[in-house]
Amino acid sequence: MKKNKVVMDAEGIDRSLTRMAHEILERNRGTDNLIIIGIRKGGVSLAERLSEKIAAIEGTEIMSGTLDITLYRDDVLTTGIRPPIEKTYIPFPLDKKRVILVDDVLFTGRTIRAAMDALMDFGRPALIQLAVLIDRGHRELPIRADFIGETLPSSLWEKVRVTVTDDRSADEVVIEEG
């Protein structure tokens, strides 16, 4: 029988995002040249939330985009199941920009590797920082996050599922026994 455990509820997620927004602003000393880019699919809603919070704290609009990394995956031709490609929306060159990449769960690190390769094709960012809601360990590449909602030690057979949608009261992070 599969056991599901809710490790973060809607309030917890919101508080973490508020803290992360402050940390991003603190580390980058404001919003100059800052761009928040969410990785499809899991990072998109989180990136929107972070952008909102940052904009509310600083009182300015913030540049944002979304990135689909399907074509940069290291298993793009070998998985057999072809993930549908959604649109990448980065309507400005990234030269000299400070990019905050956002994803829901940091696991093996391969998604982030793919995302960085994709970003490099859009210009030369001044820097790339990584914000994730959950860091569940088990890295297969030397990648780490700069801003973390929660560190969640997990077993390989477990699944970590993040739900962040327009119905904010339904936000949650669930760990499922595989």
Binding site: D68, L71, Y72, V76, L77, T78, T79, G80, I81, R82, P84, I85, E86, K87, T88, Y89, P93, D117, A118, D121, F122, G123
Partner: protein, 307 residues
């Protein structure tokens, strides 16, 4: 979801869900052609050979750009400069290429069924870039993508296809595709260029332009194929133009937001008036842009996956 066949030979046997898959994938690939670095590594290390036994600017360049944008290596072979001139057969040419282990072969040939022969013989994926007057599936796919983009849907639209239907692989593939996707297809042309019993493909036949394009959402003009006519099937180009060309007078019979399409190259003044070809209703150049996206989608969907 993936394509069920290793090849793309025609629209006739292509299920509707797979057409949707290709069009959806192509829509996402459009954006790559608008970036500064128009390249993604998806097909890195793959080899795509284009084998063209007939002349082409658009299609061959489109396939080459599509493959290169996916980081594949491309080789172009045109029959006139290859050993075909020394008498080498199609099958020998193909077997020799197979030994060099390409991943995808794109073939255009004047004989219907040429692509199918290769598909049966070789383990590589074969894409039909036009076989005689039979099919030209990538053209139909890019046409459907253009219609879908401009009109939001294909189902329920009235699409008029005008010209030398009998000799047109573009018409054939588009008829298969558009009927499958639920459009109401009307075809028109000089009587000797309309195949007998073509109503069985699910189209309505008109012999006058006015009837054909009345209230049409899409008007697709076919090229008058001067190089393909051996016999004179019409008295003169002028007479053809008088009766069957699209101009500013008859275009008013179509819907006000009609889109005008043409597979290219355009014979201005023959099948289409210059001001219509270059006017606001024309989506001819978007078709070309969509062609690269559709071919990228097809190369991507056909390559890799489980052997």
């Amino acid at each position: 979801m993936k394509l069920s066949s290793k090849d793309m030979l025609g629209i006739q046997d292509l299920p509707r869900e797979e057409i949707d898959l290709i069009l959806d994938t192509a829509a996402s690939f459009r954006e790559i052609s608008e970036r500064t670095i128009k390249k993604v590594p998806a097909l890195r290390g793959k080899t795509v050979i284009t084998l063209f036994f007939e002349a082409s600017t658009r299609t061959r360049t489109s396939f080459e750009i599509a493959a290169k944008r996916l980081s594949a290596d491309t080789i172009n072979i045109s029959a006139s400069t290859s050993s075909v001139v020394k008498g080498e057969t199609l099958i020998d040419t193909a077997r020799n290429l197979e030994s060099m282990n390409p991943d995808i072969i794109v073939i255009r040939h004047s004989a219907a069924g040429a692509a199918q022969i290769l598909a049966g013989l070789l383990k590589q994926s074969i894409i039909n870039a036009g076989d005689g007057a039979h099919e030209h599936p990538t053209q139909a796919l890019l046409d459907m993508l253009t219609i879908r983009e401009k009109k939001g849907r294909i189902e329920g639209l009235t699409v008029a296809i005008v010209g030398d239907i009998a000799h047109s692989r573009v018409a054939r593939s588009n008829i298969y595709g558009l009927v499958k996707m639920g459009a109401n297809v009307v075809i028109c042309g000089p009587a000797m260029m309309i195949p007998r019993d073509i109503e069985r493909m699910g189209v309505t036949v008109c012999y006058s332009m006015g009837d054909a394009i009345r209230n049409a959402d899409v008007v697709m003009m076919l090229r008058m194929q001067l190089e393909r006519q051996e016999k004179n099937l019409f008295p003169s180009l002028r007479e053809y133009a008088q009766q069957f060309s699209l101009n500013r007078d008859n275009i008013r019979l179509a819907k006000e937001d009609v889109i005008v399409m043409h597979p290219g190259p355009v014979n201005r003044g023959v099948e289409i008036a210059p001001d219509i070809a270059d006017g606001p209703s024309s989506v001819i150049l978007e078709q070309v842009a969509n062609g690269v996206a559709v071919r990228m989608a097809l190369l991507y969907l056909l390559s890799g996956g489980t052997q």
